[in-house]
Symmetry: C2
Subunit: 232 residues, 2 copies
Amino acid sequence: MEEIKQKYIYDYPHPAVATDCVIFGFDGEQLQVLLIERGIEPFMGCWAFPGGFLRMDESADECAQRELREETGLKVEHIEQFHSFSAVGRDPRERVISIAYFALVKIAEVKGGDDARRAQWFNIEDVPQLAFDHDLILRKALVCLKEKIHFEPIGFDLLPEIFKMSELQKLYEAILEVKFDRRNFYKKMNALEILIPIEERNPNAASRNPIKYRFNKVKYYELKRKGFRLEF
Amino acid sequence: MEEIKQKYIYDYPHPAVATDCVIFGFDGEQLQVLLIERGIEPFMGCWAFPGGFLRMDESADECAQRELREETGLKVEHIEQFHSFSAVGRDPRERVISIAYFALVKIAEVKGGDDARRAQWFNIEDVPQLAFDHDLILRKALVCLKEKIHFEPIGFDLLPEIFKMSELQKLYEAILEVKFDRRNFYKKMNALEILIPIEERNPNAASRNPIKYRFNKVKYYELKRKGFRLEF
């Protein structure tokens, strides 16, 4: 018996709408990005961002979170839209508009979901050529991440709960693609008053600086809400 | 004879995709926004942003520029996407995703196009309740404009070719919703090196400050390309 398939009919042509999720992580040294190996055509075997088609009963934000969960097992509280991609030929199947999102996560939180066998972190410097226009999406996401770091504290989502100043510095260096003077960076960060020193320093060490920190969550989110401008 | 209307058939439901354009101007005192009075249902008689449905052979950027031209006569070289709006019930006709854009223009450039009888500038403080979710779109656009002013010089698109420092200050004050000290503002702006003084000062005036300026286009676009961070 032939399956009866419902059809959807419109008076004028409609594009399909999808979401794509650029998920950034940090391994203590370099910026990482989460990719999925495509198991179907087009671009079968290529790496791409997690994502998929919008359902009629969900917003784009909900779609991005659902697709991310289904494809990588990752549940994010907040995912941020940064740009929609609409070049006419960007998908060989049909006209597809992609609303792209990004989120910053701790790498340890990615456990893998139903379709997640093929999810993998890539060092940002080692990302292979991606499916569709996802190379363009990645470039745009990196520009947005760089702009964002000047307005908001961002380490909280990417670093482990307790971290060294050198790790925070490496994170900022990885995102901004610059090198900072250690003491200047330390001063700038301390001035924000979002770091709480943890007393775990080696009693034999000569330095009096505390060597590990955690974020002051109240101050951190206050600063994130109000916005600020960080000058380097 | 009945008109034969082509139908477009898909295996799964597709949303419609539209663009909306938030066009900001400046009248020398306050920020202005360009609105269209809707001539059809839904929201007939309500004010809304210029915009309309995406054609299959154009990108969202092209759609935004075309709709703006058709509805207001305004041709903009650059229009910037800032967010896509996708709440499920945002349009009573069908599911419509709107990709929203903004541009900054000189008010004198709006001449009116084919459908432009109903285009009108509104003082930002006097904007009536808008059609669809356009109040939300306006709020988001204003937040983006405020963030943008910290990264890019923006007066060039909004001011007449020759202007006074006080006009530039009023523009920044209107966008940022703050008041600046006149001398501090003057210093900050001079330090950017994008202003060229025009020798038109009153010979009887005591002050030696030139009273009118124009932008140094080369420096202006260099700064815009490189980006900068303006601290107030």
